[in-house]
């Protein structure tokens, strides 16, 4: 996917929220949706099951307007977290410019996080993308839960962040860390242009 198109004066970033089921990916998008003025956002497409689980994916287009003469658009996607929707995850992952891995901070979800992170790497590899080359940030969601239920950001960094990417503690439901995460991934995606990625 062409990130910065000097010819059409467009910048398009596709950012995918990845992570285990119920880690709060859709909640991230909903929070963002709620904070973006109507004029700036497209319709949020969300296909959910009865239990409010993401069945297919969520899609939130953001129009950041004209920046330095470039029409800048962000497309935020989530993948369904449940393991049996891997085909959908692969589909959504295609052409991603950056990935936010939303981990569930709860200690009991530890293994799910690891499994999902491995699944992310596998799926990227299958598409010929080296996870080391793709901008990725980690979000440790649900940090607001009582400390005896969740692992601290440091502990999660220790366990999940072996590539030392940016990581953010978050409480997506109430929004803390949501925009910080989005900023983090957006900037690392945008910076990657300068690092010589073909435009």
């Amino acid at each position: 996917m062409s990130l910065v198109n000097f010819t059409t004066r467009e910048i398009t970033c596709k950012i995918v929220y990845y992570g285990p089921g119920r880690s709060g990916k859709t909640t991230n998008l909903q929070y963002i949706f709620g904070r973006v003025p109507e004029s700036r956002r497209g319709r949020m497409v969300s296909l959910a099951t009865h239990g409010d689980r993401t069945l297919f994916f969520d899609f939130l287009p953001l129009d950041l307007g004209s920046i330095s003469g470039f029409t800048t658009r962000f497309q935020l996607y989530t993948v369904p977290g449940q393991s049996y929707y891997n085909a959908t995850r692969k589909l959504v992952l295609q052409g991603a410019d950056g990935v936010v891995f939303v981990a569930d901070s709860q200690a009991r979800r530890f293994d799910d996080n690891i499994e999902s992170l491995q699944n992310l790497q596998e799926n990227l590899l299958e598409q010929g993308v080296d996870v080391r080359q793709l901008p990725v940030v980690l979000q440790y969601n649900k940090q607001d839960l009582p400390s005896d239920l969740v692992l601290s950001s440091d502990a999660l960094d220790e366990a999940l962040n072996f590539r030392a990417v940016q990581s953010f503690g978050a409480d997506a439901l109430h929004g803390s860390g949501v925009f910080e995460t989005l900023k983090g991934i957006s900037e690392s995606v945008l910076r990657r242009l300068a690092a010589g990625a073909p435009a």
């Binding site: 003025p37 920046i67 330095s68 607001d144 409480d171 929004g175 925009f179 900037e187 945008l190």
Partner: protein
Amino acid sequence: MNTKLHPGLRFEEFVIGSGNRLAATAARAVGESPGAVYNPLFIYASPGLGKTHLLSAIGHSSLAINPGLAVAYLTLDDFVEAFHAAITAGQGDAYRRRYSELGLLLLDDVQALARRREMQTELLRVVDAMQVSGGQIVLASDRPPSDIESLDDRLLRRFGGGLVVDVGAPDYETRVAILRRKADARGLDLAPGVLEAAAEIPLDNVRELLGALNRLSAAESAAGRPLSVAEARAELAGIADLVASRSGATVESAAGRGAEGDVAPAETDEFNDFLQEIASTVTQQVESWRSRVAEAVLRWSGEGFRTTRLEKLLDNGAVPQDPDGALAAFATDVSRLQQIAQDLERVAPDLAGDHALRDPDRVEAAAALLERAREGLEPPSPPSPHWLLDDLLESPTNRVAVRAARAVAAEPGSRYNPLLISAASGNGKTHVLHGVGNALAAAGLTVACVGAHDFVEELIAAIEQDAVPRWRARWRRADALLIDDVHLLADKERSQEELFLLFNEFHDHGRQMVFTTGVPLAELSGMAPRLLTRFEGGLVVELPLPDRDLRQRVAERHLSARLDQVDPELPGIIGSRPAESFRAALGTVQRVLQAAEAKGVTPSAALAREVLDGASSGGGRRTVQPRTSGVTPLVTGGIRSREKMVWEWPDVPARLIEEWR
């Protein structure tokens, strides 16, 4: 209008903890003196934290103080419904008037105002009217005003002008207090520590807390005995899990967000912050092409290349179509130039300083320059393949010359250098020259073999094209320099000078040179002494007039090549005729053959006598005057013989050009 207050929701039943202290205090103050303090009071909290309780308690409290007060409690939906009913009944004004007469309006669930512009306008009127009349308004919502989608700015300002306060989730102590109070109210007798175990579940919703209590109560009834702490925990495990897995409600953030806040952050702040940061990153990235181009300009200009093209990109205010493409194209052009310069350095060092090699906008010109240089470097014309040393007929008179030629061919550069063959025209000096040339070429040497006339012509062309250095380089590429008829260089000073330079170069490098001259050196005028002495420094041999034996053998060879059967007397007769050169002798053979053909007879000794006796002297005279061999080797390998176009002598105009210049 529904003004009913829930009878059980009073301040007495409201458990105050750290999360709700501010809200409860504000509510009490409002209840005690409606319209005097925080007006309007805006309370927001997650569901189940007691907003409705506070609204109701304010109503009870103010009614207790002033039973005559007009108090109305209604949800926003009620408010909307009543409004619609009034409008439908054509009583909109009466509806509005009723509110302006209220002493206390308690409006619940105002988050439903989101995107309802009409109702927002209506509420604004009510708020304004009540504030004018001194009535108190208390509103409750599950989110701060700023988070209510598309809320009218004027309403936001009205709310902000009063007090916006949130109700935080109960902390552990508050939860224990709530549970104890409810357990007491219900007469539950729980084992010590059980309520505390329940309170440990971070339920941030009082209704759920009461649900947990209900569950314990039911379990205890079922068991018929008080539950132990462990049993209570087991009973509540499901709830605890639910809480844990809910991506959720938070004690800290809810408390942190509103505890001190009068005015919640403006609705789009987070997005605007984000937008601004992204904009600056995008700008940096988009504009980073400038620094990349500037770096490239510095780099390439530092290496001596013209960077006009890149500088234009920078001067032009707008973002170029494809700055990276332009940079890549520039780099490609530079590397092409570097390659061209490298090649040119090899083939024509004198051209390596050409400006085109430093200007990436002139790559094509540089390539053309190299192309021209390469063309100029094709070695000068090779010897004509028709003349071979082996074909030379050796006789006692020409033996010295022929053997010298063979020695030179066998050991170029070391035996006789230069070899100068002096002979009158038609005596085979060109044959010897080309024969040596072919022998050297066969040995793998690059042989430059030209007539002096062509040597001069090429030099003139090089001067015209300002390409003398390349012309020189071209000659220098040869391993052997063979020039026919050097006497034609007489009075051509520039040509002599160039030959002098070449001579030195070839001599110094031990490369063979062979020259022929149609005029004996001693008689040669108009020739620089430095050249003459150099010619003499090698071996000067003469090719004498062919003797009778040689003439006869030439005739024999020529006739046997043309005829199946040769009259044995015929070569002898031809050889006996005096000839001033080989070519004259061959001319004699030719005349006999032509005569025989004309008469339709086989050439014979008798015919030869008949022909030659009549015309022997005429054929020979022609060859007296020319001072050159008159043979010009063509590039195609053919020979243009002067004998065949005797009077088209091209040398005169050539001289004229040289002198004129």
